[in-house]
């Protein structure tokens, strides 16, 4: 069966420090991968998605970047964190089939101090 791992679960970082959140998927190949951010327990905002290795699409201009160095690995990064980067970050994957749902990781709660 397929599983998604996302870490760390919680992270407290000072303003100006770098960020690296990692997500890996097991049990499938060629997945579509997604990074979402959820602020204040409300709606999820899509940050990046990837349809293949090295292929990254950005949805919202911001202080963050994403990379996909391997088929089932998706990394969210920042060179210098801002206070506004605080939030709950969710990684998700789906098979490349129209009616497939997104399957989410357990999320990372990031607090920038």
């Amino acid at each position: 069966s397929q599983t998604i791992h996302q870490w760390p679960a919680t992270l407290v970082q000072p303003v100006g420090s770098p960020l690296s959140l990692e997500c890996t998927v097991e049990g499938t190949s060629n997945p579509n991968l997604y990074w979402y951010r959820q602020a204040a327990g409300r709606g999820l905002q899509l940050l990046f998605y990837s349809v293949g290795i090295g292929q990254i699409s950005s949805e919202v201009p911001q202080n963050l970047s994403a990379s996909r160095p391997q088929d089932r690995q998706f990394i969210l990064s920042s060179k210098k964190l801002l206070l506004s980067d605080s939030g709950f970050y969710l990684c998700a994957w789906s098979v490349r089939r129209d009616n497939s749902p997104l399957h989410f990781g357990n999320g990372t709660r990031l607090t920038v101090t």
């Binding site: 579509n32 997604y34 959820q38 327990g41 409300r42 709606g43 999820l44 905002q45 899509l46 998605y49 990837s50 349809v51 699409s57 949805e59 709950f88 969710l90 998700a92 789906s94 490349r96 089939r97 129209d98 009616n99 497939s100 749902p101 997104l102 399957h103 989410f104 357990n106 999320g107």
Partner: protein
């Protein structure tokens, strides 16, 4: 651009009763997919039910069912025989076809459902 609107920030239901959560969306596309996700306090996103726009029949999963009105662009979720474990944030989501922007999921702002014993 597609948008999803959940007009009820909070809802409450008595245990064993039925509750309906509303969702409307805006799109010019004719073929798409709709989902309801549940997010309990653990914040894990759990798929509740899905609907394919080209299917007229409303989807059903045990106590959960939808009322899909394509012309009205409405996709409500009905929870029957509500249980305490149903208490969570519920999100309605719209998915484009895979070839279009990677089949990204567009979420509504959520409805917080509380269940009273």
């Amino acid at each position: 651009a597609q948008t999803v609107t959940q007009s009820q920030p909070e809802m409450s239901v008595q245990e064993a009763e039925t509750v309906t959560l509303s969702c409307t969306y805006d799109t010019s596309e004719s073929d798409y997919y709709l989902f309801w996700y549940k997010q309990p306090p653990s914040r894990q996103m759990i798929l509740v039910i899905r609907q394919e726009a080209y299917k007229q029949q409303n989807a059903t999963e045990n106590r959960f069912s939808v009322n899909f009105q394509k012309a009205a662009k409405s996709f409500s979720l009905k929870i029957s025989d509500s249980q305490l474990g149903d208490a969570a944030m519920y999100f309605c989501a719209y998915r484009r076809k895979i070839y279009n922007q990677g089949g990204k999921l567009i979420f509504g702002q959520g409805t917080e459902l509380s269940v009273k014993p």
